[in-house]
Symmetry: C2
């Protein structure tokens, strides 16, 4: 069963993602979710990034909400099963940060 992040999880694991050093994710208004916009050199790099995220998401059976146009990818993460942020979102966001760094080389 998936449960929402505890206060300790939020402090220790979500906090860093929300910091500028950790990637600059932000909380979504009116919803227990996080979001971030990524920009790449072009569509080729943006879709390479999306493919990496898709493979990880499918492996985790935990999928993003995302919008793309050309080089921009806007991602929102939350966990449907618990109607809020869970450790799955932390894990996927961490992968997304790594994938973004690789795709923007």
């Amino acid at each position: 069963m998936v449960t929402k992040l505890s206060d300790t999880d939020r402090e220790q694991n979500l906090g860093p993602l929300l910091s500028a050093q950790g990637g600059g994710w932000s909380l979504v208004d009116g919803r227990d979710a996080i979001k971030k916009t990524f920009r790449f050199a072009d569509f080729n790099q943006a879709f390479a990034f999306m493919t990496s995220v898709a493979l990880k998401a499918e492996k985790m059976d935990h999928h993003p909400e995302w919008f793309n146009v050309y080089n921009r990818v806007e991602i929102t993460l939350s966990t449907h099963d618990c109607q809020g942020l869970s450790t799955r979102d932390i894990e996927l966001a961490t992968h997304i940060e790594q994938a973004a760094q690789k795709s923007s080389c």
Copy 2:
């Protein structure tokens, strides 16, 4: 130079896409663009479809605006260079229809 669809193009090529038989695309309010929502069995099929569309889009250098969550893909097409619908949108929409049929097998 890319130009907006002529009235003849709209009748002959856009019309069929807007019909139920041609895929059921619809015009976007307040903008010269078309949109359609696709639903697949799961994320795997949805992303397979997106990958096919991405390869075609990159080949055409004409990219969609699209949102995905799990098995749902919402696509909007318009041509930035002419601020409206062009033959590129007709060509990409036609490919998208074919890709959707293949991905939902």
